[in-house]
């Protein structure tokens, strides 16, 4: 047992003496969370629009006020004619132009039908679609306000309610995503690198010619990283909670246990990688290409899985990150308990056992 303790202590020396890696380990979660939380966001927030109001009556003005009262839009300028629309877009800061035609109120009240034209800069299609949706829903609200005054006999109104994330905050999606990404990176890449480093520096040769059992060598190398990845998970959760007011509706204990489970899955993957490679370079490349890319692309973190081709959806089932993402969202946003997330949990457990079994089988007690 003392051997094991000394081995873990040696591993901690390696980690804490390598200041640069340590900085990356703890700096990266902060940077990624801030990046994804603030900068890389597809939320609509004070988007500059231009208005071409040909009607110029109180009703059209109320519509514009309604649009700007929300913090989604800010009127950048009023246009004087259709010929100004193109230049407004060309200057770049205007993302949407609303054209309110002549006799807007008159048409609405007397002909029971008024048209409003929305033009968007679709060079960024996602933003354009979102803008149209926001604007449409605001126009619908405005229409209801007006018809409410008139008491039309029959109307069907669709009431939309966004559950679990009512304000559609992108950060609620990114915090679990970044957590998955970082845990994968720290656990899988770091373990595979640290084990292959022993091989590369030749120290594995001495460790093998010693009474240490292979399981002891692996466990001794991995345990500090379990602690490390757990700490990082805590940092990310804390940042999510304090900076972005990300809720944890479910049990915090369950959430932390799931984090440890996913850490273990990633670690076992890292061990597997290290058992099939001999150089740090290769281990890093395999971790980056073989783990990071699928984790980003196929976990449902950036791109929704539902809209992917069937084949990719099937492939995504083999990605641990996909299941962890489901668990995180279910526990944090929907407040679900173990009874609801037992399936992804079981899948992660299964994957961990499988990876560990394969890597123990593959561990070489000799050099070649």
């Amino acid at each position: 047992m003392k051997q094991f303790f000394v081995f873990v202590r040696k591993e901690c020396y390696h980690i804490f003496r390598d200041k640069r890696t340590l900085l990356i380990l703890f700096g990266m979660p902060l940077v990624l969370i801030v990046l994804f939380g603030f900068a890389i966001t597809n939320e609509i927030h004070h988007v500059q629009i231009a208005v071409l109001d040909q009607s110029r009556d109180s009703y059209s003005q109320r519509l514009v006020q309604k649009m700007t009262a929300s913090r989604y839009f800010t009127v950048n300028r009023y246009l004087s004619g259709e010929k100004d629309i193109e230049p407004a877009f060309r200057q770049g800061d205007v993302k949407m132009v609303m054209v309110i035609p002549n006799r807007f109120a008159h048409d609405f009240f007397h002909e029971k039908k008024a048209a409003i034209q929305l033009l968007t800069d679709a060079s960024d299609p996602n933003t354009a679609t979102t803008l149209i949706n926001y604007a449409n829903s605001m126009i619908m609200q405005y229409q209801q306000e007006l018809t409410g005054e008139l008491k039309l006999p029959l109307t069907i109104s669709g009431e939309v309610q966004m559950v679990y994330n009512p304000s559609l905050k992108g950060v609620f999606l990114f915090v679990p995503g970044v957590m998955t990404l970082i845990l994968m990176l720290v656990s899988a890449m770091m373990t595979s690198i640290t084990i292959t480093r022993e091989k590369e520096l030749g120290t594995m040769e001495i460790l093998l010619v010693s009474p240490l059992k292979p399981v002891m060598i692996i466990a001794g190398k991995v345990i500090p990283y379990i602690v490390l990845s757990f700490l990082i998970a805590l940092i990310i959760l804390a940042m999510g909670a304090w900076v972005f007011a990300m809720p944890v509706k479910g049990s915090l204990l369950l959430l932390l246990l799931e984090c440890i489970l996913f850490g273990l899955t990633a670690l076992s993957l890292g061990i597997l990688i290290s058992s099939v490679t001999n150089s740090q370079q290769t281990a890093m490349m395999i971790s980056l290409m073989g783990l990071m890319l699928p984790t980003i692309l196929l976990s449902g973190f950036v791109f929704p899985l539902e809209s992917m081709p069937k084949a990719l959806q099937v492939v995504a089932n083999a990605i641990p990150a996909k299941w962890f993402n489901i668990i995180l969202k279910d526990v944090m946003l929907k407040g679900m308990g173990l009874r609801q997330v037992w399936m992804p949990t079981l899948i992660l457990c299964g994957m961990t056992v499988f990876f560990l079994a394969v890597s123990i089988r593959k561990f070489k007690i000799r050099l070649s």
Binding site: V6, G202, I206, L207, V209, L212
Partner: protein
């Protein structure tokens, strides 16, 4: 019981034959040297004996235990120092030593007697990371780490490669002292001058052992006179001598050339005279182990 028994070991890596029919035994408290150039297969043999590689054919016993079946026991009992510096560069001398003592279920204090003389030389730098030590100090530390669990057999793969002459001498003094404690030592080196310090040596080239004997017997077995020659333009002298039929071998040896002949010395003198070498000097030389090795190497090359 012989502590190390090697019988008919063969090992190939793909098409390359690394070891060919290697057999030898090492007795109690014997300092046995494996002498050969880089790529002769010395490290491969060490790894087979240290249970890190499996031989294709043949078997070997360390301390009476089979290197394949009883590898676990052997790993507890041997001290192995790989050819490449293989300690933790970011750990200090102290930490490295304590680490290796603990994983072998012992403490530095328990076996301090064995490493005392070596450790005292590096003790002033105990707090320095191993990566920042000089070559000689690194090897001394590595030897300490290999000795700290009081091994029954010691394997040292090129312990003095890349070490300055003074440290090399100190290192061999230590090996001589260790030998007196009864530990059999298998050591490899590419340096001929170290060969004479061993009890017995095996000359190895291209994966095959050419001769096993005591250094004195190997030199004695060299049955012909050696001439030391030198001239102002030594390069031209080598060239001219090698072109002469009566010259068997001609190698640079320090500032002189060592030359063996199958003709009379006067013939060579007569041959060299018209070539106008300035400051030509010819005198008899005592053959060394290097001459023997060169001759054996040449014979082996002619055979294959």
């Amino acid at each position: 019981m012989q502590p190390i028994i090697v019988e008919n070991i063969h090992k190939s890596f793909g098409d390359v034959k690394a070891l060919h029919d290697i057999s030898f035994t090492i007795g109690e408290g014997e300092l046995f040297g494996l002498i050969g150039p880089d790529g002769a297969g010395k490290s491969t043999l060490f790894r087979i004996l240290a249970t890190l590689l499996l031989a294709d054919e043949g078997n070997a016993k360390v301390n009476g235990r089979d290197v394949v079946k009883e590898y676990r026991t052997i790993r507890r009992e041997v001290g192995y120092m790989p050819g490449r510096f293989s300690l933790y560069q970011d750990l200090t001398i102290e930490e490295n030593l304590n680490f290796f003592a603990t994983i072998f279920n012992t403490t530095v204090e328990e076996n301090y007697e064995l490493i005392k003389e070596i450790y005292e030389q590096i003790a002033p730098f105990a707090k320095r990371p191993a990566g920042k030590l000089s070559g000689g100090m690194k090897q001394k530390l590595a030897l300490c780490c290999a000795l700290v669990h009081k091994p029954k057999v010691l394997f040292l793969d090129e312990p003095t490669t890349g070490v300055d002459p003074v440290s090399r001498k100190e290192f061999w003094d230590m090996l001589q002292r260790l030998k007196t404690k009864g530990i059999p030592i298998l050591v490899s080196t590419p340096y001929m001058d170290e060969a004479v310090l061993c009890d017995r040596v095996a000359l190895i080239q291209k994966g095959a052992i050419m001769q096993i004997n005591t250094p004195a017997n190997i030199v004695a077995g060299f049955g012909m006179p050696v001439w030391a020659m030198k001239a102002k333009n030594i390069y031209r002298l080598i060239h001219d001598l090698r072109a002469f039929k009566g010259v068997l071998s001609c190698y640079a040896f320090g500032e002189y050339l060592h030359v063996t002949l199958d003709t009379e010395l006067d013939d060579v003198k007569a041959y060299l005279a018209p070539l106008g070498h300035e400051a030509l000097e010819i005198k008899p030389a005592a053959p060394g182990i290097e001459d023997a090795f060169m001759q054996l190497m040449q014979e082996q090359n002619e055979l294959t």
